[in-house]
Symmetry: C2
Subunit: 419 residues, 2 copies
């Protein structure tokens, strides 16, 4: 019988992994580092530095201002289209790459609230990623509205592990709810929300839905038009491998393109950018969500990351992702759970049902911070998440099954030594 805890088993899984060759498409200076944080910052594709250098030398230094006419102006929409059609199930003209997630949450939330002028409540989750919560609270405060929070309101309460459900959201809806703002994949538990059901429930109550897909994009295949979503935003520096501080994106359902307003109406979102016209006239479609001048190098780097995912195919990415998290949970059960062979009493703060998980899992332990720091000294890099989470991100294009094995073994070894 196969010993699934043996390193040879992980090696065999890597051997059989059809996506394994993609790892060689990334720059990995130290192959011994067990990187389990691609969900915070994805690795750098090998093509990125040459692409960025080409933009610097051939476009900026050589063509100078002429590059705006020679391609830069349309890059946010072109890269947006590639990102949207590859990763979001979007049609062309529905996605723009611009600004960061915080700014995009702000713009889209304001735009969605404007589309429901008789309502002033936003439904959001108390366990949501901070920036979304802060923006939702401030935007509603300024409008004299409020946020109806889902989830445990006591900050000391344990975080929910199960996905947000349509039933849970439906219970919070009322006739003043204008917008539901939720993450497609929870940044701590990794749970995938009930995307279609929640969207439908919100629509049934007359509300719009904004999905933050930061922790989903590039690891969980999305079909935003298929679930009937209104708006979505997300980053590109996690599984899209766009680099530190890579620009974020906005997707808007075509039915909103005519009426939606950008509350930060910048010249780059104008219908005629260089007319410098007296009044603001929004560009057709999602381009109107642009604000100021986009970074040509940053867009090139996002494009490289999107290209790799397109080449791999999101179905294959998801298949590997499920195998990675399933293997991680198996090893957790065996080595880290209170009921496992070591009895280490680590908790699993992610769903047991693989279908409900994104590409990361979180392990709970009271000494999570110290453990995470000690692991880093040993070349094993997960992520600490306040207050007691060790977040283990498994990026399908770059994480090996042996990384899962070695990483979880390192946690086990460390916790045994601490015991």
């Amino acid at each position: 019988m196969t010993d699934t805890a043996a390193r040879s088993y992980a090696e065999a899984l890597d051997e059989a992994d059809p996506l394994a060759p993609f790892r060689s498409r990334f720059e990995i200076p130290d192959d011994s580092v067990v990187y389990l944080d691609g969900n915070s910052l994805g690795r750098m594709p090998s093509e990125t530095a040459p692409r960025v250098a080409a933009v610097l030398h051939e476009q900026w230094a050589d063509r100078l201002i002429r590059s705006w006419d020679e391609g830069w102006m349309d890059l946010p929409l072109e890269v947006g289209d590639r990102l949207g059609t590859t990763l979001l199930g979007a049609g062309p003209g529905e996605t723009v790459v611009c600004d960061n997630v915080t700014v995009n949450v702000f713009k889209v939330l304001e735009a969605a609230l404007d589309l429901r002028p008789d309502r002033s409540t936003v439904v959001a989750h108390k366990g949501e990623f901070p920036t979304d919560r802060y923006v939702a609270a401030e935007v509603t405060r300024r409008r004299g509205g409020s946020v109806r929070w889902l989830g445990p309101l006591d900050p000391a309460a344990p975080l929910p592990i199960d996905p947000v459900t349509a039933m849970q959201v439906a219970g919070a809806l009322h006739d003043d709810v204008a917008v539901v703002l939720l993450s497609a994949v929870d940044y701590r538990s990794g749970a995938i929300a009930e995307l279609a059901g929640i969207t439908q429930a919100a629509h049934d109550a007359g509300a719009l839905v904004v999905w933050d897909c930061s922790h989903a994009i590039g690891s969980v295949p999305l079909d935003l038009p298929g679930i009937g979503a209104d708006f979505a935003i997300g980053c590109s520096y996690k599984y899209v491998n766009g680099g530190p501080g890579a620009p974020a994106w906005i997707w808007a359902a075509p039915e909103h393109h005519g009426a939606m307003r950008n509350p930060v109406p910048g010249w780059m979102g104008h219908s005629d950018v260089f007319a410098m016209s007296p009044d603001y006239s929004p560009a057709v479609g999602v381009r109107r969500f642009m604000t100021g001048t986009p970074s040509a190098t940053a867009l090139a780097a996002v494009d490289v990351g999107v290209g790799l995912l397109a080449e791999a195919g999101m179905a294959a990415v998801r298949t590997k992702s499920l195998a990675l998290t399933t293997y991680a949970v198996d090893l957790y059960d065996r080595w880290l759970a209170g009921t496992g062979e070591t009895g280490l009493a680590v908790t699993l703060a992610s769903p047991r049902d693989a279908a409900l998980r994104g590409a990361h899992i979180t392990l709970g332990h009271p000494d999570a911070l110290a453990v995470t720091q000690a692991l880093a000294d040993r070349g094993v890099i997960p992520d600490f998440r306040h207050p007691d989470g060790i977040r283990v991100g498994l990026a399908p294009l770059t994480t090996r099954f042996t990384d899962v094995h070695d990483g979880l073994l390192a946690i086990r070894t460390l916790l045994e030594a601490l015991r």
Copy 2:
């Protein structure tokens, strides 16, 4: 007697120019291009590509997420300090590099309005750079306030050439004016507004002042604390040479640091970023104007540009800038003005008094668009500005006096051929 129109005169000026060696610090693949648009997109410093590559390879690819702890978190403030102390006359802790100008105008304008809660009018100029006008109009509209426009309200009227004066602003002030939003250097005429006088007039009327320094920074020495400014914003891709879409910056007077609010409260502006705390608690000082995750490569590129200006010294930069625009106006008078030797009837849409000019001048001609395009075919690159402006930007670190000569001679030759 010296013939100031002879190319040898320009060559002699280049020979005697103490900043001439700085041109070799930039990557200039085609030395024959006469680039007169450094006021739109500054040239690329030679150090930029290696610095960006180092961030990519040594920080992103190799150190991965650890780079946030190893320096990235403080970069927006560190680069902000270098930029602010070198170019704005700022003290440490007063400047942050983040987002783009549009987003920063929005945040700062909202913050300034919040500091004057009993007032709802913004004074701005009808000839202001579009993004500032669009944001001012939308921000006040959403608050039920309005913009009191300076300048000719008829879009067909000729644009003012003279600087905005304290007297002009004072005439528009009343007790509902919360904020005056103006450019330090006009993006078309290049005129320098009466910075200290306007600020004083606004303060006398109980209003705050936001200076957009996009067309000033890196060419006109600024002393924002000295003029008593409240807030300032600007870009870094013109005379700062930060690259296409380089991040912008915000400066805030220390007296506002305690009370100012960011209307887009992102996690990166929180007092404890990784606490992921239930409520937003702004960071001390100007860091609170940060929104989402900053780009490490973009900040490195801005830092390179700031470093070059620091090395040159802003006094020397201004001295050369005055010499460049003065020489350009001399050649304009000789070759392009209706009263000159060619009688070409080009107008000068910039102040005649050198002290009132930033680092660009604008020439008016009915065929400005066609002329600008034809010049580009001849390797001479100024900038067209709607409806009839040929904008000639003279970047002190990279523009040669021979560029001024050759550029204006090319305009003369072209217009003579068209006549």
